[in-house]
Symmetry: C2
Subunit: 373 residues, 2 copies
């Protein structure tokens, strides 16, 4: 067993995440590790919290970076808020809606599933029907930006409907945060989670999470204990919590939080509305080029995510061969289809730092070359 230090190739990451991580963020990541209770580290955590509040457009006091990937962020929302036997309306229009159903089922709650077609936004009318049919439902859960299909759903309207029906909302913003309009407070979202490796362009492994005061109260006043110790946010609050003393819960991923701090600073410097506009502009430029190549989108134009472009694999093209060619000849990664779209679609990410003209140009040129092989 003689292994060497690992020197990764320098890829251009245009898949569904991780996205391109800037040299600035990588450099922050590699700064010397300090203690997770060091006063300097605690001060930085406060800044991360403020910067996350900025990115989420929320004043929620409970806004943190959870020490695990987005799928743990999802589970944290469900296990803290939902109790055994509760009814949860779950919108499913892709892989991640399906994962929400798994979460609800595994904790012994009841999932009322509202299915919409893959590649389409969540169908508002069907959700309204489910709300009407289930006046005892306590939660409405949906994915804002489906990473498996590239469709964006109307989070604002869905949240309004939930409020009108006394439901709390649990929202997956893994791929939406930083890439499209998202307003936690204005829309009245109760629990939201994201990931760092998409439009934040930070390294993978951390999940930004925010709970409204109402959601915090629900977590604190449960009848039954939270089934997970690691994900128990009432304990995590004492570590991330307000002014004063920090209680040890677990060892925070110190260096990854340096990186998140830096990537959030970059979002703030650009201005989050400008970041949304940049994603939109690069998407339009990519869409124009794809049209020239005769490549078609899976998602209808007004339901498309600018940061995740899901396209039909052109007839005659070999899925795996094309992706390997791009990787080998151009160090360019694009994403394969996932779930129902496996073998049928490619996913081209324009997330965060990836959403630059030079990457769009490269992607179009490389794709044209690959398809002509």
């Amino acid at each position: 067993m003689t292994f060497k230090s690992f020197n990764p190739p320098e890829r251009i990451l245009m898949g569904p995440g991780p996205s391109q991580v800037s040299a600035r963020v990588l450099s922050a990541l590699a700064r010397p590790t300090i203690g997770h209770l060091d006063p300097e580290f605690v001060r930085m955590m406060d800044e991360v919290k403020s910067l996350l509040q900025y990115a989420f457009k929320t004043k929620n006091e409970f806004t943190i970076a959870l020490s695990a990937p987005g799928s743990a962020g999802m589970e944290a929302c469900f296990v803290n808020l939902v109790e055994r036997g509760d009814k949860v309306i779950v919108c499913r229009n892709g892989v991640f809606g399906g994962r929400m159903v798994e979460n609800v089922t595994r904790l012994g709650a009841e999932a009322i599933i509202v299915d919409s077609p893959w590649g389409r936004a969540v169908e508002i009318d069907k959700v309204q029907a489910a709300l009407d049919a289930n006046p005892d439902a306590k939660f409405l859960a949906f994915v804002h930006a489906e990473t498996s299909t590239g469709a964006v759903s109307d989070a604002k309207t869905l949240c309004k409907m939930a409020q009108d029906n006394d439901c709390l909302t649990i929202v997956d913003a893994v791929t939406s945060l930083g890439g499209v309009e998202l307003r936690v407070d204005d829309w009245g979202i109760d629990a939201i989670y994201s990931g760092t490796q998409k439009c934040m362009s930070c390294v993978p492994g951390i999940s930004p999470v925010s709970f409204s005061d109402k959601a915090v109260a629900v977590a604190k006043n449960r009848k039954t204990p939270i089934q997970s110790w690691f994900l128990d946010q009432t304990l995590v609050m004492a570590y991330w919590g307000g002014a004063g003393k920090r209680s040890y819960h677990h060892t925070a991923p110190v260096n990854s939080l340096y990186a998140l701090h830096e990537s959030l600073l970059m979002v703030q410097e650009e201005g989050i509305e400008n970041a949304w506009a940049r994603h939109r502009a690069q998407h339009e430029s990519l869409a124009k080029g794809l049209k020239k190549l005769g490549i078609e989108f899976i998602v209808p134009e007004d339901e498309r995510l600018p940061q995740l472009n899901t396209i039909h694999i052109p007839e005659g093209a070999d899925d795996a061969k094309v992706r390997s060619y791009l990787l080998e000849h151009y160090n360019l990664e694009i994403g394969a289809g996932l779930g129902d779209l496996a073998g049928k679609a490619w996913r081209i990410g324009l997330m965060g730092h990836t959403a630059q003209s030079e990457n769009v140009a490269l992607c179009l040129a490389a794709l044209e070359d690959a398809l002509n092989q």
Copy 2:
């Protein structure tokens, strides 16, 4: 809100973890992010697996780096193996044994608690009595190296007792891995978890986990579903699993795994037995110096962890003031007491890269100065 890039002070980390991270590991951490399904990344994961098998002294096929801190590794062991109603004998001689009890209780299983005094090894006789009194117990769970007290327990004997009583073992090796003798296969450990930020001297946030074939079979043949989706190791196996195709489960913390790969390479280059001996030698040198300062250990000599030295706060010394002085004047972090030992003890870590003569010398000199203020 005008924040700047975060430039942490350069601390010398002699607390209970994180330990000092070498420049070599930090440099690996900052290499360019690539995709979690990139063939080069998958090849590196295979090497991480082999290197973890080396460090754990196991041939267990299911040996992985879990994408979250040690406390999630703990929870993964419990939620995958233990079912509602199962009886688990849990040895508790510090904070982390108590956390095991929390895990067992929250999943609806029954914890038979065997208490031993804080600062002492788990008492073998009491465990035998619990095994005798509970022939239907399915698991024996204990902490090999209690990070809250600095006591090491006789894992070899405890595992033998468990086997003789048809119990599977769940072992916390967060602080022991790489610092003291640990032989997963020879001792017949069934499920073990550790952390990267202790004697591996990697950045915090990852938990090495290994299951014996017997434990894997238990996880796969449960009567009830695993309550956590994120920690469901039967799903994770398909990502980390054997030869061939990798199935997506969640986005792996790519850069942290670069760092773990590098720190495991360093362990292998030194030789793990040599690492154990180095921890022992530096501990003896520290103990000699502490004796000269009139400082006493909490743990009896033959139950002491070399990598975590828990000492009585000398009479008249102000706990918080001394630690602040060390931090401010020497950039030196030592640990406060935890749980029952809060305000009564300090914890001096000599973990991994921290266990060097220059750090022992500095710690003794700085402590002498601080106590004379």
